[in-house]
Amino acid sequence: MNRIKNAFRNQKAFIAFLTAGDPIPQKTVEYILEMEKAGASLIEIGIPFSDPVAEGPIIQEANLRALKQGITPNQVFDIVQAVRQVSNIPICLMTYLNPVFHYGYERFFQKCQNVGVDGIIIPDCPFEESHEVKDISKKYQVHFIHMIAPTSKERVLQIAKEAQGFIYLVSSMGVTGVRESFSSNLSAIVNTIRSVTDTPVAVGFGIHSPEQVQKISQIADGIIVGSAIVDIIKIYGENAHQPLHQYVKKMIND
């Protein structure tokens, strides 16, 4: 059974992103479990890619740090497997299409199912190109998470109708990274989405403060925090357990 819906059951989902292998694979496992303890309801694990065009500098650098360690997709699957030994937290992988294509779609999603991955987010695979992986991911019960952006306009309905798992609503223009303000039409987009689907909507890109969590929680079913978490890992390296715990807790409870 796919675990994603558990993240949204009776609560606003706090989705925590981190880059696999930054600083080392063992720490990724520990940090995931630590953030779960602090209240994270879904974990998004980035498979590093050499050229992450949808990322701002913070996550770009994390990708490069992880790649320098020689991290491979198989090691990322090992990380998921290690987490699954002790935890049932919903897990989505986030990466670019090329590493998945290169691994082989069939092999990749079969592996996802084997180790317990619940969803996949691929920012360079828009609706029009989702044919690449949609049938195969479905076959292995991995939800293909669609993204919707402030510029999606009439595409919102088209995409929302096909949604599975949750919808990743991009908060604003541009790439990932901490920012202070979001697109003014988020609430209208969420209403449009809700007119055609019950699939939960989580907002990501730029969210880093409890005040923002408060605000976004009023309109969406969940929030996604990436760069702020990756930045903590950058600062504290292999000793980020406590700072991550405190940060996640603060974001959820404040």
Binding site: S50, D51, N98, P126, E128, T151, S152, V175
Partner: protein, 393 residues
């Protein structure tokens, strides 16, 4: 064939944020493609500003020296700004203006596309920002200053390998931040649809002219056309109107230190199928699908991918793609300078290098056209350095 696809290649693999904008560009282009006023305005710019049509020059000395086919050079180096890049940017920047955009952004490798874009933006009154890898701003400092003179802002890109692919990454990131007033003027036949088509169409004027010119001079089709290929815009330009003719199409890739080393950018010869920069095509990449750091003496060919239409021409065996090393290119650079009195771009020298090997195997009945895509002033200091001579620019 499905729109935006070339066989299995092409497509639109870009973030959702850009999708509506890219559809808008598609629609805008389809409209202006057949709009007489737009085409007249573009023709006027190309003829009266850029200096088209470019010469098809009979390289008599080279022909005699190589002893084989008759050699013609399509002199894109004589265009305003010194390369074929102006053909595409005049079209795209004019289109940007018609779309109501006030700002253009572009990536550049050698700086040729950056200079051309800055030029067109200056002429047509748009703001211009250029993204260029730090390694390239260092080795092409003359072009950086040129762009600044033309009023453009140049961003030196320090991420990744700090070359052309990283410049494309940064330009794409900038584009997702700001699409309302900005058009990303892509410089090659790459990226998401419709860019490979738009750039090819604007560059196809090269073969449109060359085909007519060769019939005037020789009364027949050439045996082969030869061009250098990075992303592949000058090659697509000179191939296009010959695709349905019995003419050999030969693209010359940058083999750097050799295709048996890691230091090359010969995508067709050493790459594999992948999805990157908005397109499915061939890319230099490792066993995990990470894009490989590529190398060439030529900043303009130093790119790990190739346009999707080239990938398709290769798949269908309609065109062939040969590797040319740094050594061969530098030797050809010096050769054409001494033989024909032409200092060509190091990119174009890759095509000359292959012609030097290929032309002698043909007969005097054969005719070969080489696309001389750009002039080589920008490369003089680097070639001197390659030969161990330090000249201060």
């Amino acid at each position: 064939m499905e729109t935006g696809r070339y066989g299995i290649h092409g497509g639109q693999y870009i973030p959702e944020t850009l999708m509506n904008e890219i559809h808008k560009i598609e629609d805008t282009y389809e409209y202006y493609k057949n709009n007489k006023d737009f085409q007249d305005e573009l023709s006027q710019l190309l003829n009266e500003y850029a200096g088209r049509p470019s010469l098809l020059y009979y390289a008599k000395k080279m022909t005699e020296d190589l002893g084989g086919a008759k050699v013609y050079l399509k002199r894109e180096d004589l265009n305003h700004t010194g390369s074929h890049k102006i053909n595409n940017v005049l079209g795209q920047v004019l289109m940007a203006k018609k779309m109501g955009k006030t700002r253009v952004i572009a990536e550049t490798g050698a700086g040729q596309h950056g200079v051309a874009t800055a030029t067109a933006a200056a002429l047509l009154g748009l703001k211009c920002e250029i993204f260029m890898g730090k390694e390239d701003t260092d080795r092409q400092s003359l072009n950086v200053y040129r762009m600044k003179l033309l009023g453009a802002q140049v961003h030196s890109v320090t991420t990744g390998t700090m070359t052309l692919k990283d410049a494309v990454n940064e330009a794409m990131r900038e584009w997702t931040k700001r699409i309302d007033d900005t058009l990303y003027v892509l410089g090659s036949v790459m990226g998401p649809h419709p860019f490979p088509m738009i750039v090819r169409d604007f560059q196809s004027i090269i073969s449109k002219e060359a085909r007519k010119q060769i019939f005037e001079y020789e009364g027949k089709l050439p045996t082969a056309v030869i061009a250098c290929v990075g992303g592949g815009s000058n090659a697509m330009g000179i191939f296009y109107h010959f695709i349905n003719d019995p003419v050999q199409l030969i693209g010359c890739e940058a083999a750097g230190k050799g295709v048996d080393t890691a230091l090359n950018a010969a995508t067709i010869n050493t790459g594999t199928l992948g999805i990157f920069h908005g397109m499915k095509s061939y890319f230099c990449q490792d066993e995990n699908g990470q894009i490989a750091p590529v190398y060439s003496i030529s900043a303009g060919l130093d790119y790990p991918g190739i346009g999707p239409e080239h990938a398709h021409l290769y798949d269908t065996k309609r065109a062939q793609y040969v590797p040319i090393t740094d050594d061969e290119a530098v030797e050809a650079f010096e050769y054409i300078a001494k033989t024909e009195g032409i200092i060509c771009a190091i990119e174009s020298a890759h095509a000359i290098a292959y012609a030097k090997k290929y032309v002698p195997t043909l007969s005097s009945d054969d005719v070969v056209i080489i696309c001389l895509s750009g002039r080589g002033d920008k490369d003089v200091a680097a070639i001197a350095k390659y030969r161990g001579i330090d000249i201060h620019e």
